[in-house]
């Protein structure tokens, strides 16, 4: 765990609780998808919780966040209500998007969450635009764009890095490097010295951290969000992590080496935070209770989601556009 930075026990305990909530949410979401209770693509964030959590802890309610297909963790860390999220995954009427979006489109504009996104890297272009709006309107907010390692090969992603630099926008780019782009090892389709070199080539200060160390993430995010808030322009954080599960809930992830997977899972961000807390005197029972509380909160969200009403049929035709009939 990181050395110089010495966060309070309370802060780390909070980060731990957030990670537990995210884990419990996605443990359920993945299983519910495999069991056929959810539909579509459900991308579990399991193993990567420290990143959303550490970054999210340094964002204000008014800050904007743009996410990608693996988006549940970012929403929860930004404060989204797990009940409304779960209802969305269940396609129910009062889900965050009224059931129209599902897992890949969870969003909560009241909390500045611009949405998960089904097209790799597109959310990053939205993020730089959000930052441009912030700047134009003279607002005191920053924008965080989360995206994966695979996204670093898409043109719009690279354009957006240039864009943020050219217009000096208040953006924190967070690359969650979980080694894979779907079933492909990202390294096998990525040229050059690496992700940091790419960000730097567009003039964006960039650094790498251990993305499974929530304290390291918190420290870096605190520093970088401060820099962005101070008007320094964009910064780039490369967080190394590992995706425990398959690319999505229905993918058993068999193309991966078993050893690699167990090595990855051994480096559990939650276990690490738990050990840190335990070493500083937090009781094992208390830590276990935190876990139980998170699981219980999700259990309750699920039962509310299960019993919630479906969207009324006429909802099919609402919120398309003001002009013109949809039929």
């Amino acid at each position: 765990m990181s050395e110089a930075y010495d966060p309070s026990l309370e802060r780390v305990h909070g980060l731990y609780a957030t990670m537990l909530l995210i884990r419990a949410f996605d443990e359920h979401a993945g299983q519910a998808r495999r069991d056929g209770h959810l539909r579509g693509s459900v991308h579990e964030y399991i193993g990567q919780e420290a990143i959303a959590t550490g970054v999210g802890a340094n964002l204000l309610k008014r800050d904007y966040v743009s996410s990608y297909h693996r988006g549940h963790g970012h929403c929860l860390a930004k404060g989204a209500d797990p009940v409304s999220m779960m209802k969305e995954l269940y396609g129910k009427a009062d889900g965050l998007c009224g059931g129209k979006g599902g897992s890949m489109h969870v969003a909560d504009f009241a909390l500045g969450i611009l949405g998960a996104n089904g097209v790799v890297a597109d959310g990053v272009t939205l993020a730089v635009g959000a930052a441009q709006a912030v700047k134009l309107r003279g607002e005191d907010r920053i924008v965080t764009a989360f995206f994966g390692d695979g996204a670093m090969n898409r043109g719009p992603m690279l354009e957006a890095l240039n864009w943020a630099r050219v217009f000096d926008l208040p953006v924190l780019f967070v690359c969650e490097d979980n080694t894979y782009s779907d079933k492909t090892r990202t390294a096998s389709v990525t040229g050059g010295p690496g992700i940091l070199a790419r960000a730097s080539a567009f003039g964006i200060p960039a650094e790498s951290i251990d993305g499974n160390d929530v304290i390291a993430v918190d420290e870096a995010a605190a520093r970088l969000t401060r820099a962005v808030r101070s008007g320094q322009g964009p910064v780039f954080l490369h967080a190394k992590t590992y995706r425990w599960r398959g690319h999505l809930a229905l993918d058993p992830g068999r193309y991966r080496d078993a050893q690699e997977v167990s090595r990855g899972m051994a480096d559990d961000p939650i276990a690490r935070a738990k050990a840190w807390l335990f070493a500083r005197g937090v009781k094992a029972e208390s830590l276990a209770a935190d876990r139980e509380a998170a699981v219980e909160r999700i259990r309750s969200a699920v039962s509310q989601a299960e019993s919630a009403p479906w969207p009324r049929p006429e909802i099919l035709f609402t919120d398309v556009q003001d002009l013109g009939a949809p039929t």
Partner: protein
């Protein structure tokens, strides 16, 4: 009233909207130095500064993506894509993000962006700079599509587009930039979705838009000399199109001819003809017809390009054929 070119009229509309609402801004390539390819932004950067008239990198994906993000966050961007052909470089962002966001996110957010994509053949610009792609955007739920044919409309419709809360594909025609006409500088925004009957007639209803309006009017004049009374309808807004106006005319005339510069196959004319055939079958005295470009890329060489165009003679011949045919 004053006489302005089609480009000047658009510039005036934008200037007025930017003065009215500080959240209106413009982005695209080469807007500042000389005000865009046709001077349609002349002087605006000098007036409103570089942060409201933004010269961008050549990054169509991010031009569009950023505009969407900014539109979600309280601003009203006007995007200049230069030619409809390059609009294809941002097709993903337009369709998957701009058009779908409001619906997919359950009505939490709107994307009030104007997306300018000039269409049409002009003076040998050849295959990659001459396309008319309106049919594509009409097919996409969430988009409004506008195609002004006169300076006055380019003023009043652009104002309306800027104030529209949904994304508007705004298709000017390259060959109209220099066309001059009377403009009421203080005109209110024109309601979107209203066609104009630009010439009244009994025998055949000619539905058209953009640069083909004047060609159809010339044809109608010639038809009058041949004893055929043609009504010419300028749709102005292509989605939603003014079915009331078209249907009312077809009910009277019993004959429908749709004329556009876009490729005939799969063009927007197909939608209009189908809708009329479905709804007004019993009112039709003869087969409806479409005139559009052959299904070939636009060639460079003058005699070939000329053969791609629909002429007044083509329209006259088609209309006379229809007028003579018996049901």
């Amino acid at each position: 009233m004053t006489v302005l070119s089609y480009a000047e009229a658009a510039r005036l509309a934008l200037l007025q909207e930017m003065e009215r609402d500080p959240n209106v801004w413009v982005l695209g390539e080469d807007l500042g130095p000389e005000g865009g390819v046709a001077g349609q932004y002349a002087g605006l950067q000098q007036r409103f500064g570089k942060s409201r008239v933004v010269d961008t990198p050549i990054s169509e994906s991010t031009i569009m993506g950023a505009a969407i993000g900014a539109a979600m966050c309280g601003t009203r961007p006007v995007v200049e894509l230069r030619y409809a052909d390059f609009g294809l470089c941002a097709a993903d962002e337009i369709v998957n993000q701009a058009a779908k966001a409001r619906y997919m996110l359950g009505g939490q957010v709107r994307v009030p962006a104007v997306i300018r994509q000039p269409i049409g053949m002009r003076d040998g610009m050849a295959a990659q700079h001459s396309q008319s792609t309106e049919a594509w955007w009409i097919h996409i739920p969430g988009l409004v599509v506008v195609a002004p044919s006169t300076p006055a409309d380019n003023h009043a419709l652009l104002k309306a587009a800027v104030r529209c809360d949904d994304p508007v594909i705004y298709m000017e025609h390259k060959e109209l930039w220099t066309v001059r006409g009377e403009v009421d500088e203080s005109a209110a925004p024109a309601p979107l979705g209203n066609a104009a009957v630009v010439r009244e007639g009994r025998d055949v209803t000619i539905v058209t838009w953009s640069s083909m309006v004047s060609v159809c009017l010339a044809a109608a004049q010639a038809l009058a000399e041949s004893g055929v009374s043609a009504e010419v309808i300028d749709l102005r807004t292509l989605w939603p199109w003014d079915k009331d106006a078209v249907f009312a005319s077809v009910v009277r005339s019993g004959r429908l001819l749709v004329v556009h510069q876009a490729v005939r196959v799969g063009g927007f004319g197909a939608e209009i003809v189908s809708e009329v055939a479905e709804q007004l079958f019993d009112k039709l005295k003869t087969a409806p017809r479409r005139l559009g470009a052959p299904r070939v890329p636009v060639p460079y060489s003058e005699p070939l390009e000329m053969r791609c165009r629909i002429t007044a003679d083509d329209i006259v011949a088609a209309a006379i054929g229809m007028a003579r045919a018996e049901a």
